[in-house]
Symmetry: C2
Subunit: 206 residues, 2 copies
């Protein structure tokens, strides 16, 4: 078990290094196998091509981002997270979104893909939800339900609201290049917070 | 003058018909010239390749959508647009956004591109603003400034706020496939309204 898991992680680490160095289009499974120190069949057995490998890599990286966001925001119930409203479920949710956005904006793999190979993101922006988006939706839905219980989030279908929150955060995060001439990172994150707070707050509840 | 304009529009009309029938990748300048009833050099003189032609076509179609949205929303100052808040600049702006979204969701060219060739949209979602996005920003900025005068929109840098509104509407509009299992068209448009109203309203002003 350990070795199988280790090999998979080693291959994904090697894939990340290759993509960060050369880009997705110029990364081959042979390069990745060499860098990971495993045989080519070991890689081919698990991934038919580089596209499938990069998809799994992106999923792993995004799930790790989500995990860290969940840890920070989720533990912030005592209000020590710096966010004025972290004692409420809405405060925790917006703090998690903010933490995730800040990390994503500096993530070498994500920024490389957005800047140089944005067509990789197109499927998950326009056509269908991917694994990490479903994981984000689970977190968001339960955060929204918590907020509907503690009164910090308005009533409404939690799944529908989670979709809107996911797409809003994802869009502002991945379109960094379309706002950076007028909004620096702090300003962008502050505006994202306003979007979420305005959308989620009960009428008159901000 | 008239003939030059007419030729250009005829070529763009032919390009739209080709793309709607065959997709961007399978549309050639030769097909377009034949369908428009003009010579190939006439087309090649103006557009180096099909990608450039489709970019101009998309710009024309999106500017037409914006024009119609501006007409309806802009004239709605007497509140006859059906939106409860159309007497305010914020009401007009959200009514325009709603009208534009509804039209875009049924636009044959746009829906075809989003469903089948989303990589065409990737540049304008992740990398840089295009001509029609700048035109939308002009409309949004002046609507936001009007709202800051009539008190229906909170204070803040109008250009930064216009970017956030543009990206929010664009994202919800183009990611239709990622929400349609839980939000039908009316529900999606209603949620987009909540996003904009919540983001633009002064504190306690909804």
């Amino acid at each position: 078990m350990t070795s199988r898991r280790n090999v998979e992680d080693a291959v994904l680490d090697a894939a990340r290094a290759c993509v960060e160095a050369f880009g997705i289009r110029r990364t081959t499974l042979t390069d990745v196998a060499r860098r990971a120190g495993v045989s080519r069949p070991t890689v081919y057995r698990r991934w038919p091509d580089a596209t499938a490998l990069v998809a799994d890599l992106l999923t792993r990286e995004l799930l790790a981002l989500l995990d860290r966001a969940d840890d920070t925001g989720g533990d912030g119930g005592d209000g020590d997270g710096g966010a004025e409203g972290a004692r409420t479920a809405r405060g925790r949710l917006t703090a998690q979104a903010e933490g995730l956005m800040r990390e994503a904006l500096h993530h070498p793999l994500l920024t490389r893909i957005i800047d140089h190979e944005p067509e990789t993101m197109a499927v998950y922006a326009f056509q269908r939800l991917g694994t990490s988006q479903f994981a984000a939706l689970d977190l968001l839905r339960s955060g929204i339900e918590d907020g509907q219980v503690d009164g910090s989030i308005r009533d409404g279908d939690a799944e529908g609201m989670a979709r809107i929150v996911l797409l809003s955060v994802q869009s502002l995060m991945t379109s960094r290049r379309l706002t950076e001439d007028v909004l620096d990172e702090d300003a962008l994150v502050a505006e994202a917070r306003r979007v979420l707070d305005g959308y989620l707050a009960p009428e008159g509840g901000r």
